[in-house]
Symmetry: C2
Subunit: 254 residues, 2 copies
């Protein structure tokens, strides 16, 4: 029997404000954690400027390579919101004014307030399925394996919560973190050997120093709890050999 199918994803963060440093992105971390819980592995992320050719190229590169692509940003009513038309171009589909999206906006806005700029938020590629926006109504959409979400974190999160049921993950990634005040350079050899003995796991080492103390958090990730726990026993023994005191959990969070 083949092993469990690996389901992959990419995230595209669209917006000049991230690339200018004006806005600190927090959507990637949110999506990364959520996808991980669903058994979807986030293989890459890109931050793309509000430039049509760049967005089209990034969407096409990622939708061919990964099972799912999630975009954030660029679906508001202003001139710099160009995600919907770029996704349509990437798929070679006409951009239409989605009747169901228009109906939602009509129900939401007071008479006379649904101007052309706001109606642009009802534009989707032909054949798209809407993604609910319980916060501010203007929907996201799904076309093929691409999910188009808002950039405002609270709206993006609400949209993602609503589309969760459409996603089919593989085996969820499990993880266990062990921290210790041992120098990475001291444990590196043993840690590399541990990784070789457990090739199915992804073992990461994240250095930590604060107030003159050097330490690291070691993260064991994989789909099998028994493998992770077996490796953790060896890791804790390795830390003790080096005179350290293994701590369950992330050093940086203590």
């Amino acid at each position: 029997m083949a092993g469990p199918r690996v389901v992959t994803a990419a995230v595209l963060i669209i917006g000049n404000e991230i690339l200018s440093g004006r806005t600190q992105d927090v959507n990637l971390t949110y999506l990364a954690k959520q996808l991980s819980e669903l058994g979807v592995r986030l293989h890459e992320a890109r931050v793309v400027a509000d430039v049509e050719a760049d967005i089209v190229a990034a969407v096409n590169a990622c939708r061919e390579r990964y099972d799912y692509v999630f975009t954030t940003g660029g679906i508001g009513p202003t001139h710099d919101d160009i995600t919907a038309e770029c996704i349509a171009k990437a798929f070679g589909l006409p951009l239409i004014r989605n009747p169901e999206a228009v109906a939602r906006l009509e129900r939401h806005y007071e008479p006379g307030m649904l101007n052309e700029a706001r109606l642009r938020m009802a534009n989707t590629p032909q054949g798209a399925t809407l993604i609910d926006n319980p916060v501010s109504i203007a929907p996201g959409f799904q076309i093929g394996n691409v999910f188009v979400l808002a950039g405002v974190p609270r709206i993006m999160q609400a949209m993602f919560d609503g589309l969760r049921a459409r996603l089919v993950g593989g085996a969820p990634m499990l993880s266990r973190t062990v921290g210790a005040f041992v120098a990475e350079g001291a444990i590196a050899k043993g840690l590399g050997e541990l990784q070789q003995r457990h090739p199915a796991l992804d073992i990461g080492s994240y250095p930590y120093f604060r107030q003159g103390r050097f330490g690291a958090s070691f993260v064991l990730r994989g789909t099998e709890r028994t493998q992770i726990d077996a490796a953790a026993v060896e890791l804790r023994a390795l830390i003790k050999e080096l005179g350290g005191d293994p701590i369950e959990g992330d050093l940086a969070e203590r």
Copy 2:
């Protein structure tokens, strides 16, 4: 006469910990702001897994396209630190043990502590120039237009400070932000027209809502202060026309 040369950059954030959601990246925002001040325009960023083929592909895609490429992460002593060898592969150069880097590590470590794992931190592509690390000594390096920095923010920032003098920027990007409690959908048409009247500027609209109030911050970016200020006068008038009260600065920071 041609206009000022536009100098471009990409940032590659290397590390599984960002893609798993374990670590919230803060290096991109830092680099984005610093590059902006130096007159270097950050056109894209990618978050890449600790996978050789992915790193090599991303480095080669970006170093051909942009004036500068900055990488963060993957230069420590553990098995998951593979950035140096990947950069060497991307350039088709041999990976060498850099004598100057070894000398720095030898001066730093107590006798007997400079083991093979730590010596790996002295590996660079042949011909690389070192980037000083005043925090924990193990250097970054520059090869061609690619600058390889640490992932730990404090070390990355210290490295960047030291290499600043090697970077030649174009005209610095200037910006001015005006906020107002007006709905994006209400101002969108006028804002789009403002953008058309000032094609040399990059005008962004960033919605804001908190405690039931909708507003937005409007960011005017460009290289000419007089253009920005002229557009700001028009923007403030537009906000007032819509019954709003223009506020100098970012709404979200008030």
